[in-house]
């Protein structure tokens, strides 16, 4: 007969839980949480991005202990971290490579959502929170890049803050306000440092909301049909915990390769030149994860319109749940949308290529076509394809689909909602 007396540890936990009821709730959310049984590896990227967020915060805090945010000392303090601080080079490269990894993972996570319709009813707000996180990430990354105070740091800050001068009447005053001076300088660096430290914690809060919204209805799945009962789900632990761990190990391999063998491959050499307000680099290029927006900005000949469309390309993501008119979630059952999706991927990659290159010759043409196509996709193709396409027959359930059961049209069925 097994000893069923609770041990000391679980007695302590129950004592706390009675007074602060979080343990039972956490246990349900992390261990028992019913998850569709048919999730593929494309579903690893959510938890992976959460882990990378933690990595960025930890490496960032340790860097902050050694960094000096003044225009005279910033560049040298980073070099000191690289040369004199024990393992400083490791923390620094982990932070800079981690930013690229973070965006790669989040972009894949986002495109996963686009493909499988994870933004559709009832998960619209989950999607909106995700876009908010992306915007906060972009702001954080932009300010973080200014901190080493290299040539690219300084001039990227100058160009991007100058964007606000496009606003009629008050634009230039806004820019002066942002700078805290007449150019990017010490006041700018100081406030960017403070905000760069702050925003990740706001991101954590929004991630918390994102997870609460997720758990309200549970995860989507590759079939896009709702889980209707225990035959369709499995507990998160141990199935998806071990799968996430495996995915984490594979990710770490790729991450480690960048940190240890190619740490500067994604960075511009110009940022190893100390900032010089009197000399602009030949090619001002943002980090790769901002290239598509940069390409859109440059593709439009009008300054204000270019700014609006560049920001617009990001903000339009908020409206995707309403732009897409299809009643079917997953692209597996949407033969036309499938092609449209991959065309979008190619378009975004093309925009990235455009943003990386000086605006000459064919680069300009491709940039204009790709920008046009992006908005065509969002504003025209999403609603039209959704309305006009004939989707394939959906399986009747996740469990039956796994076992090769019958088919039924529509995404009906009560969702696994919490009462």
């Amino acid at each position: 007969m097994a000893d069923t007396r609770p041990g000391a540890m679980s007695r302590i936990i129950r004592w706390i839980d009675y007074r602060l009821p979080f343990v039972a709730a956490l246990n349900h959310e992390l261990n028992e949480y019913p998850t569709p049984r048919n999730l593929t590896y494309w579903w690893n990227f959510g938890s992976l991005s959460g882990i990378v967020l933690v990595v960025m915060i930890v490496t960032g805090i340790f860097l902050a202990m050694q960094y000096t945010p003044s225009s005279e000392a910033a560049f040298d303090s980073v070099e000191r971290i690289m040369r004199d601080v024990n393992y400083g080079w490791l923390v620094r490269y982990a932070h800079s490579s981690g930013a690229s990894m973070f965006f790669a993972i989040v972009y894949i996570h986002l495109f996963r959502g686009l493909y499988y319709g994870s933004y559709k009813e009832p998960r619209q707000f989950l999607w909106i929170l995700g876009v908010v996180i992306l915007i906060l990430m972009i702001a954080t990354a932009f300010m973080g890049y200014v901190l080493p105070w290299g040539q690219m740091s300084y001039w990227a800050a100058t160009v991007i803050t100058n964007l606000f001068s496009a606003i009629p009447l008050i634009g230039q005053s806004i820019v002066t306000f942002l700078w805290g001076g007449f150019t990017v300088g010490d006041p700018t660096l100081h406030r960017f440092y403070a905000l760069h430290y702050l925003l990740p914690f706001i991101i954590i809060a929004v991630v918390g909301l994102h997870l609460i919204a997720l758990h309200r209805f549970g995860s989507n799945n590759p079939l896009g049909i709702d889980a209707k009962g225990p035959q369709d789900t499995i507990p998160f632990h141990p199935y998806y915990t071990i799968k996430d761990l495996f995915g984490l190990a594979v990710f770490l391999l790729i991450y480690a390769f960048f940190v240890f063998y190619a740490p500067n491959s994604l960075l511009s050499p110009d940022n190893y030149i100390p900032a010089n307000p009197m000399q602009t680099p030949n090619h001002i290029v943002p980090e790769w994860y901002l290239l598509p927006y940069y390409a859109i900005l440059r593709a439009v000949p009008n300054k204000l319109l270019g700014v609006i469309m560049a920001f617009g390309s990001l903000f339009i993501l908020f409206f995707v749940p309403w732009l897409d008119r299809s009643p079917v979630r997953s692209a597996r059952f949407r033969p036309v949308y499938k092609w449209v999706f991959w065309l979008l991927v190619i378009d975004v990659v093309a925009l990235g290529w455009v943003g990386a290159n000086p605006p000459e010759g064919i680069v300009v043409t491709v940039g204009q076509i790709a920008t046009f196509y992006y908005f065509l996709h969002m504003l025209i193709l999403l609603p039209l394809v959704g309305k006009l396409e004939r989707p394939r027959l959906l399986p009747s359930g996740i469990g039956t689909a796994v076992l090769g059961g019958g088919a039924r049209l529509g995404a009906a069925g009560s969702p696994m909602a919490k009462p």
């Binding site: 040369r83 480690a256 240890f260 290529w353």
Partner: protein, 255 residues
């Protein structure tokens, strides 16, 4: 789904290759050199780095500073503590603190000092070089597209300008410098230094050695980084394998 993803990702190789697509500066592609620090098992050849330091000391330091290097860093290149002290003591260094009379003064260098620059500030450097500013070399290999191959190409790329080329006065023709006109006169000439280990001081040899030294100066942690990286990658391969086996085992009853 996977195949299409890979196709899209392959296209995204363009995104990751901005350095490969440059506006035409009309300089020929850089000749590729073999460096001891190339590749994932690369390390800095110490003998070459020491020769390179000698080249820096005897040729380049007349105009170029290496402000991020301290004398104590030279121990990394294989110099003993005594040798480092002797090298440092051979320099006159301005003490950062004034003396008791309030004046700045010079004294022999110590290992804890940074290697002193040839000019006290940028303005003095420009004044001595017809308005041109010789850049600091501590980071030069990381701060230029093409890295060590670029620096090597510049050092060995001096030649007569082609007929009809409009050279500005005071400039020198260099095949690999963007625009082809560089303010720095050719710094290296045959036997400009005499290497202690007897290696003949040809221009390619000196260029190779000084670039190895400068690569180390830009990135002193490379040896450590590669060594640690190997351990980390091996550990992660094992970890991924074990986690995958565990995943398969746990999922077996479900599949």
């Amino acid at each position: 789904m996977l195949k299409r993803a890979f196709a899209a990702v392959a296209l995204s190789a363009f995104v990751l290759a901005p350095p490969l697509v440059r506006a035409a500066d009309e300089t020929p592609p850089l000749p590729h050199q073999e460096w001891s620090f190339d590749g994932i098992f690369g390390t800095y050849d110490r003998a070459s780095s020491q020769r390179g330091f000698q080249v820096y000391k005897e040729v380049c330091s007349v105009c170029h500073a290496v402000k991020h290097l301290y004398f104590r860093d030279l121990a990394d290149l294989g110099y003993s503590e005594e040798e480092v002290k002797a090298i440092a003591a051979g320099y006159q260094v301005t003490d950062p603190q004034p003396n008791d009379q309030g004046q700045m003064y010079q004294r022999p260098g110590r290992p804890s000092d940074p290697i002193p620059p040839p000019f006290p500030n940028d303005q003095a450097a420009r004044a001595a070089n017809n308005g041109a500013l010789p850049p600091d070399l501590s980071m030069i290999v990381k701060a230029r597209e093409g890295g060590p191959n670029y620096v090597y190409a510049i050092l060995t790329g001096y030649k007569d300008p082609p007929p009809g080329f409009n050279m500005l006065s005071g400039m020198n023709y260099n095949e690999y410098f963007p625009g082809h006109q560089i303010a720095m006169p050719p710094p290296l000439s045959e036997n400009a230094v005499t290497f202690g280990d007897g290696v003949p001081a040809t221009v390619p040899q000196m260029a190779h050695d000084v670039v190895t030294f400068l690569a180390w100066a830009s990135e002193p942690n490379l040896d450590d980084r590669h060594r640690t990286g190997l351990k980390v990658m091996l550990f992660l391969v094992v970890a991924a394998g074990v986690f995958y086996a565990a995943k398969r085992k746990i999922w077996a009853p479900i599949h």
